[in-house]
């Protein structure tokens, strides 16, 4: 067996062990894995780390490789174990010489933007009429008029300003998910 193949097999075994440690149900374990990864990325970004996704994956790899050692002894929130490992990874990252910033893929930006506009229209059409109306009005006004408009909207919908904001942001979140799925399909075509 080639070293690369052996490494790949080991990594897969590590990952399986990690998922089994996170939850006995593989589906739930997958969700927990994604959740932890996303949160690690958010934390690393808030620490001004320029490669949060890379460090989050490095953290998860390290945890996966240690599962054998900690599985029977670690007690407490498993997510916090990731935080401890992430601190080490981040610490090492800070000691490394700074890398030049990666060039952004400008040539793809135009096509990406166009696809985003198309997907936005598609996903807006999928919204329920009241949700679409709410989102249209929520985003329609500028900063000065925003507060007045949102008060009026909240009154119209019979909810508080805070609830209005949460509703709008949840619709916004749905839109985001819908647009990302739409973009995946768009790029697969």
């Amino acid at each position: 067996m080639s070293p690369a193949k052996k490494l790949q097999l080991l990594q897969q075994e590590d990952l399986d062990r990690l998922l089994a440690w996170l939850d006995s149900d593989p589906e739930r374990a997958g969700l927990i894995y994604e959740k932890i990864r996303r949160r690690l990325i958010t934390i690393l970004a808030s620490r001004h780390c320029s490669v949060p996704e890379e460090l989050a994956d490095e953290t998860i790899d390290r945890v996966a490789r240690r599962i054998e050692d900690i599985r029977d002894t670690y007690a407490g929130e498993k997510a916090l174990y990731f935080l401890g490992v992430m601190n080490n990874v981040h610490h090492e990252y800070l000691k490394r010489p700074a890398l030049p910033p990666r060039p952004s893929a400008d040539e793809d930006e135009g096509a990406g933007e166009e696809a985003t506009y198309l997907c936005l229209d598609k996903c807006l059409d999928k919204l329920a009429p009241h949700a679409r109306r709410l989102i249209e009005q929520y985003y329609a006004e500028n900063k000065r008029a925003k507060i007045d408009l949102r008060k009026r909207l909240a009154t119209e919908f019979g909810i508080s300003l805070n609830i209005l904001r949460l509703r709008a942001l949840r619709i916004r979140e749905k839109l985001q998910v819908c647009i990302e799925e739409c973009l995946c399909q768009y790029h697969l075509r």
Partner: protein, 292 residues
């Protein structure tokens, strides 16, 4: 253990912009990893923040921190793209708050599908209008088609005669005229010079503009004593600027002298007229004129 309500919206935004103190950051990170409610609030706060950025609602400081901290992940970049698309889709009013250059960039972004469709519709409309014009209104189309141009008449072999039929001899002028079409022939300022005029009472000549213009001096002679004359134009200081040989009289009392206008500058001039008698030159008289 803290719950999500212990963290204000402002604290969440500060976390996202990376400006919590190290102590606050540690506490927040721990809660963020284990508290579902806080994680949900942070997720929504991310949308709020990207929207505020895209709609130009952040202060200058927040904007700088956002640019440094926020769009570092693929997911966040996608959020920002959607916020920008929402802004362009729903908030023309907010666009007017952006700087002029950014507003123009947003409004005249030809990559937007709307612009592409608009151009496609415009091209289609133009094609249809052209087709309609050609079929229904041929007389309008005729106006745009080039008319056949009749060939210009060829220049005569003796243009000096065509332009100045009565001029018997004017070599310099004749050469210029021969190269020019009839409608572009040089125009002349004509002045009659009398031999009795002194320098004080010299007639004034208005200098025409243009390289091809000429000043025609009609030199009055007492009687036609010779067949050929020579005229020389000099400045008052005696510097010769132009001369012409083989001039003949016109109706026995006048000799025409054409001087290219480009040779003359404002000032006083003298014209010396000589005649050829038995092969030797003989002074006839002098004339004076003033150029303005």
């Amino acid at each position: 253990m803290q719950n999500a309500a212990d963290f204000s919206d402002e604290t969440i935004r500060s976390f996202l912009l990376g400006r919590l103190s190290s102590t606050e950051q540690s506490v927040f990170e721990e809660q963020f990893l284990v508290n579902e409610e806080l994680e949900a609030r942070v997720r929504l706060a991310e949308f709020d923040l990207t929207d505020d950025y895209a709609f130009g609602r952040l202060s200058a400081t927040d904007q700088t921190q956002f640019e440094q901290t926020f769009p570092l992940t693929t997911e966040r970049k996608q959020k920002l793209n959607v916020s920008t698309a929402l802004r362009d889709r729903f908030a023309p009013a907010s666009v007017s708050k952006l700087p002029m250059a950014e507003r123009l960039r947003v409004l005249v972004d030809f990559r937007k599908p709307a612009w592409r469709y608009a151009f496609a519709v415009l091209v289609l409309a133009l094609l249809m209008a052209t087709a309609w014009l050609v079929t229904k209104e041929p007389q309008i189309v005729q106006q745009f088609l080039p008319k056949r141009v009749l060939p210009k008449p060829a220049a005569t072999s003796s243009p000096e005669k065509a332009n100045h039929p009565s001029l018997s001899a004017s070599p310099t002028h004749a050469q210029q005229s021969a190269q020019m079409p009839a409608h572009e022939a040089p125009s002349a300022s004509i002045v009659v010079l009398n031999a009795k005029s002194t320098i004080d009472k010299a007639p004034a000549v208005r200098l025409p503009h243009g390289d091809n213009e000429v000043v025609r001096l009609q030199l009055v002679i007492e009687k036609n004593q010779a067949r050929r004359y020579r005229a020389e134009v000099l400045t008052i200081a005696g510097q010769s600027i132009y001369s012409s040989d083989s001039l003949t009289s016109y109706d026995d009392f006048m000799v025409n002298l054409d001087i290219p206008a480009r040779l003359i500058k404002p000032g006083d001039y003298q014209v010396r007229l000589t005649r050829s008698t038995n092969g030797s030159p003989e002074k006839v008289t002098s004339y004076y004129f003033r150029v303005q």
